[in-house]
Amino acid sequence: MINKLMENYLDILPKSLWVTTCNSGSCNGCDIEIVACISPRYDIERFGMKLVGTPRHADVLIVTGPVTKYMTDRLRRIYDQMPDPKAVVVVGNCGSSGDVFYKSYNLDGPVDKIIPVDVFVHGCPPRPEAIIEGVAKAVMKLESLREPKKVGEAES
Protein backbone atom coordinates (compact mmCIF):
# COMPACT_ATOMS: atom_id res chain seq x y z
CA MET A 1 0.00 0.00 0.00
CA ILE A 2 2.79 2.39 0.95
CA ASN A 3 4.62 1.57 -2.26
CA LYS A 4 1.56 2.50 -4.32
CA LEU A 5 1.02 5.65 -2.29
CA MET A 6 4.64 6.65 -2.67
CA GLU A 7 4.62 6.08 -6.40
CA ASN A 8 1.92 8.70 -6.76
CA TYR A 9 3.79 11.16 -4.61
CA LEU A 10 7.12 10.47 -6.25
CA ASP A 11 5.68 11.31 -9.65
CA ILE A 12 5.67 14.94 -8.65
CA LEU A 13 8.74 14.95 -6.45
CA PRO A 14 11.54 16.92 -8.10
CA LYS A 15 14.16 16.16 -5.50
CA SER A 16 14.93 13.82 -2.63
CA LEU A 17 13.09 14.64 0.54
CA TRP A 18 15.43 15.38 3.42
CA VAL A 19 14.03 15.05 6.89
CA THR A 20 15.28 16.27 10.24
CA THR A 21 13.92 15.45 13.67
CA CYS A 22 13.41 17.36 16.90
CA ASN A 23 12.73 15.64 20.19
CA SER A 24 10.80 18.22 22.18
CA GLY A 25 10.50 16.09 25.31
CA SER A 26 9.57 12.68 23.99
CA CYS A 27 10.15 9.44 25.88
CA ASN A 28 12.19 8.33 22.83
CA GLY A 29 9.59 5.75 21.85
CA CYS A 30 8.65 7.68 18.71
CA ASP A 31 12.30 8.41 17.97
CA ILE A 32 13.06 4.71 18.01
CA GLU A 33 10.31 4.17 15.45
CA ILE A 34 11.72 6.98 13.31
CA VAL A 35 15.10 5.30 13.42
CA ALA A 36 13.37 2.06 12.43
CA CYS A 37 12.26 3.81 9.24
CA ILE A 38 15.86 4.01 8.06
CA SER A 39 16.56 0.39 8.99
CA PRO A 40 16.75 -2.20 6.18
CA ARG A 41 13.22 -3.44 6.95
CA TYR A 42 11.53 -0.13 6.07
CA ASP A 43 14.39 1.63 4.30
CA ILE A 44 12.95 5.06 3.49
CA GLU A 45 16.03 5.88 1.46
CA ARG A 46 14.60 3.78 -1.36
CA PHE A 47 12.00 6.56 -1.69
CA GLY A 48 14.74 9.17 -1.73
CA MET A 49 14.01 10.22 1.84
CA LYS A 50 16.92 10.78 4.13
CA LEU A 51 17.43 11.79 7.75
CA VAL A 52 19.76 14.76 8.04
CA GLY A 53 21.38 16.22 11.12
CA THR A 54 20.61 19.88 10.56
CA PRO A 55 17.45 21.83 9.73
CA ARG A 56 19.50 23.90 7.31
CA HIS A 57 19.38 20.99 4.85
CA ALA A 58 15.91 19.69 5.61
CA ASP A 59 12.57 19.93 3.81
CA VAL A 60 10.51 18.25 6.48
CA LEU A 61 10.70 18.60 10.26
CA ILE A 62 9.52 15.64 12.30
CA VAL A 63 8.67 16.60 15.86
CA THR A 64 8.20 14.15 18.71
CA GLY A 65 7.22 14.92 22.28
CA PRO A 66 4.72 17.28 23.90
CA VAL A 67 7.07 20.35 23.89
CA THR A 68 8.35 21.09 27.35
CA LYS A 69 8.90 24.70 28.37
CA TYR A 70 12.65 24.29 27.93
CA MET A 71 12.23 23.13 24.36
CA THR A 72 9.79 25.80 23.15
CA ASP A 73 12.38 28.34 22.00
CA ARG A 74 14.58 25.63 20.57
CA LEU A 75 11.77 24.08 18.57
CA ARG A 76 10.76 27.48 17.23
CA ARG A 77 14.36 28.28 16.32
CA ILE A 78 14.87 24.96 14.55
CA TYR A 79 11.70 25.55 12.56
CA ASP A 80 12.82 29.06 11.65
CA GLN A 81 16.21 27.80 10.49
CA MET A 82 14.69 25.50 7.87
CA PRO A 83 14.68 26.90 4.34
CA ASP A 84 11.34 27.46 2.61
CA PRO A 85 9.28 25.63 1.51
CA LYS A 86 9.05 23.39 4.56
CA ALA A 87 6.60 21.03 6.16
CA VAL A 88 6.14 19.81 9.73
CA VAL A 89 5.07 16.31 10.70
CA VAL A 90 4.18 15.58 14.31
CA VAL A 91 4.82 11.98 15.25
CA GLY A 92 3.06 10.48 18.25
CA ASN A 93 0.17 11.27 20.52
CA CYS A 94 2.25 13.49 22.81
CA GLY A 95 3.10 15.97 20.10
CA SER A 96 -0.36 15.81 18.59
CA SER A 97 -2.43 16.40 21.69
CA GLY A 98 -0.23 16.18 24.77
CA ASP A 99 -1.68 12.73 25.46
CA VAL A 100 -1.19 11.77 29.12
CA PHE A 101 0.77 14.99 29.68
CA TYR A 102 -2.13 17.15 28.54
CA LYS A 103 -2.36 20.37 30.59
CA SER A 104 0.80 19.47 32.50
CA TYR A 105 2.38 22.41 34.34
CA ASN A 106 5.70 22.14 32.51
CA LEU A 107 4.39 21.97 28.95
CA ASP A 108 3.95 24.65 26.33
CA GLY A 109 2.70 22.16 23.76
CA PRO A 110 1.28 20.39 21.94
CA VAL A 111 3.35 21.21 18.91
CA ASP A 112 0.70 23.08 16.92
CA LYS A 113 0.62 25.75 19.62
CA ILE A 114 4.26 26.56 18.87
CA ILE A 115 4.74 26.06 15.12
CA PRO A 116 2.38 25.37 12.20
CA VAL A 117 1.86 21.64 11.67
CA ASP A 118 0.91 19.99 8.38
CA VAL A 119 0.56 16.32 9.26
CA PHE A 120 -0.29 14.55 12.51
CA VAL A 121 0.70 10.90 12.91
CA HIS A 122 -1.07 9.36 15.88
CA GLY A 123 0.12 6.40 17.90
CA CYS A 124 2.08 5.65 21.03
CA PRO A 125 4.34 5.16 19.27
CA PRO A 126 3.12 5.06 15.67
CA ARG A 127 4.31 2.26 13.44
CA PRO A 128 7.07 3.10 10.94
CA GLU A 129 4.59 2.62 8.09
CA ALA A 130 2.44 5.37 9.55
CA ILE A 131 5.44 7.68 9.91
CA ILE A 132 6.47 7.08 6.30
CA GLU A 133 2.93 7.78 5.13
CA GLY A 134 2.86 10.96 7.19
CA VAL A 135 6.08 12.21 5.62
CA ALA A 136 4.77 11.24 2.19
CA LYS A 137 1.69 13.38 2.79
CA ALA A 138 3.94 16.28 3.67
CA VAL A 139 5.33 15.99 0.16
CA MET A 140 1.99 17.15 -1.19
CA LYS A 141 2.16 20.32 0.81
CA LEU A 142 5.72 21.01 -0.24
CA GLU A 143 4.95 20.47 -3.88
CA SER A 144 1.89 22.68 -3.75
CA LEU A 145 4.18 25.43 -2.50
CA ARG A 146 6.87 24.76 -5.08
CA GLU A 147 4.86 24.25 -8.24
CA PRO A 148 1.10 24.59 -7.75
CA LYS A 149 0.30 23.87 -11.40
CA LYS A 150 2.27 20.65 -11.49
CA VAL A 151 0.45 19.27 -8.43
CA GLY A 152 -2.89 20.16 -9.97
CA GLU A 153 -1.98 18.28 -13.13
CA ALA A 154 -0.85 15.22 -11.18
CA GLU A 155 -4.08 15.09 -9.17
CA SER A 156 -6.24 15.39 -12.25
Binding site: C22, T54, P55, R56, M71, D73, R74, L75, R77, I78, D80, Q81, M82, P83, D84
Partner: protein, 112 residues
Protein backbone atom coordinates in the same frame (compact mmCIF):
# COMPACT_ATOMS: atom_id res chain seq x y z
CA UNK B 1 61.06 33.52 -13.14
CA UNK B 2 58.12 31.31 -14.05
CA UNK B 3 60.26 28.58 -15.49
CA UNK B 4 60.45 24.88 -14.81
CA UNK B 5 62.38 23.66 -11.84
CA UNK B 6 64.20 20.37 -12.46
CA UNK B 7 65.21 18.23 -9.54
CA UNK B 8 66.66 14.79 -9.11
CA UNK B 9 63.15 13.43 -8.68
CA UNK B 10 61.38 15.15 -11.62
CA UNK B 11 60.29 18.71 -12.34
CA UNK B 12 57.95 21.36 -11.00
CA UNK B 13 56.39 23.77 -13.45
CA UNK B 14 55.01 27.01 -12.05
CA UNK B 15 52.65 27.84 -14.91
CA UNK B 16 51.21 24.30 -14.92
CA UNK B 17 50.55 24.55 -11.23
CA UNK B 18 48.83 27.93 -11.59
CA UNK B 19 46.71 26.56 -14.46
CA UNK B 20 45.76 23.52 -12.39
CA UNK B 21 44.90 25.69 -9.39
CA UNK B 22 42.76 27.99 -11.54
CA UNK B 23 40.82 25.06 -13.04
CA UNK B 24 40.34 23.45 -9.62
CA UNK B 25 39.19 26.76 -8.11
CA UNK B 26 36.72 27.29 -10.96
CA UNK B 27 35.34 23.78 -10.44
CA UNK B 28 34.92 24.36 -6.70
CA UNK B 29 33.19 27.69 -7.24
CA UNK B 30 30.87 26.12 -9.81
CA UNK B 31 29.95 23.33 -7.39
CA UNK B 32 29.34 25.91 -4.67
CA UNK B 33 27.09 27.89 -7.00
CA UNK B 34 24.87 24.82 -7.42
CA UNK B 35 23.76 25.08 -3.77
CA UNK B 36 20.46 26.48 -2.60
CA UNK B 37 20.03 30.20 -2.91
CA UNK B 38 16.60 30.48 -1.37
CA UNK B 39 17.73 31.25 2.15
CA UNK B 40 16.29 34.40 3.56
CA UNK B 41 19.17 36.56 4.62
CA UNK B 42 18.98 38.26 7.97
CA UNK B 43 16.61 35.65 9.42
CA UNK B 44 17.21 32.52 11.47
CA UNK B 45 17.73 30.67 8.18
CA UNK B 46 20.98 32.55 7.90
CA UNK B 47 22.16 31.70 11.41
CA UNK B 48 24.42 28.93 12.66
CA UNK B 49 22.63 25.77 13.76
CA UNK B 50 23.59 25.04 17.33
CA UNK B 51 21.12 22.29 18.18
CA UNK B 52 18.39 24.87 18.49
CA UNK B 53 20.25 26.90 21.09
CA UNK B 54 21.36 30.49 20.78
CA UNK B 55 24.95 30.59 19.57
CA UNK B 56 27.04 32.22 22.32
CA UNK B 57 28.75 35.48 21.45
CA UNK B 58 31.90 34.48 23.30
CA UNK B 59 33.62 31.53 21.66
CA UNK B 60 35.37 30.53 24.89
CA UNK B 61 31.99 29.59 26.37
CA UNK B 62 31.48 26.83 23.84
CA UNK B 63 34.99 25.43 23.62
CA UNK B 64 36.44 22.57 25.62
CA UNK B 65 40.10 23.10 26.53
CA UNK B 66 42.51 20.45 25.25
CA UNK B 67 43.65 19.77 28.79
CA UNK B 68 40.21 18.30 29.49
CA UNK B 69 41.04 15.42 27.17
CA UNK B 70 43.81 14.35 29.54
CA UNK B 71 41.87 14.79 32.73
CA UNK B 72 41.74 11.07 33.52
CA UNK B 73 45.40 10.61 32.76
CA UNK B 74 46.38 13.53 34.96
CA UNK B 75 44.14 12.32 37.77
CA UNK B 76 45.59 8.81 37.66
CA UNK B 77 49.17 10.07 37.59
CA UNK B 78 48.63 12.75 40.22
CA UNK B 79 50.68 11.00 42.98
CA UNK B 80 53.72 10.78 40.69
CA UNK B 81 53.31 14.34 39.44
CA UNK B 82 53.07 15.53 43.02
CA UNK B 83 56.52 14.10 43.81
CA UNK B 84 58.04 15.38 40.57
CA UNK B 85 56.63 18.88 40.88
CA UNK B 86 57.81 18.92 44.50
CA UNK B 87 61.34 18.17 43.31
CA UNK B 88 61.24 21.01 40.79
CA UNK B 89 62.14 23.78 43.16
CA UNK B 90 63.67 25.97 40.51
CA UNK B 91 66.90 26.25 42.52
CA UNK B 92 70.01 25.62 40.41
CA UNK B 93 71.95 23.85 43.12
CA UNK B 94 69.12 21.28 43.47
CA UNK B 95 69.20 20.54 39.74
CA UNK B 96 72.97 20.13 39.79
CA UNK B 97 72.63 17.91 42.84
CA UNK B 98 70.13 15.64 41.03
CA UNK B 99 72.51 15.54 38.09
CA UNK B 100 75.45 14.50 40.25
CA UNK B 101 73.39 11.82 42.01
CA UNK B 102 72.06 10.37 38.73
CA UNK B 103 75.54 10.34 37.17
CA UNK B 104 76.95 8.66 40.27
CA UNK B 105 74.20 5.98 40.19
CA UNK B 106 74.78 5.37 36.45
CA UNK B 107 78.50 5.14 37.03
CA UNK B 108 77.96 2.58 39.75
CA UNK B 109 75.70 0.48 37.53
CA UNK B 110 78.05 0.73 34.54
CA UNK B 111 81.34 0.20 36.35
CA UNK B 112 80.22 -2.67 38.59
Amino acid sequence: MLGTVYTGFGYWDVSSWIAFFTIAAALVLWLRAQGREDYKEGTEQDEIYWSGNVVPEEGAEITVPASSAYWGFRKAMAPFYKILTGMHTGIGTDIVGYYVVVVALLAVFILL
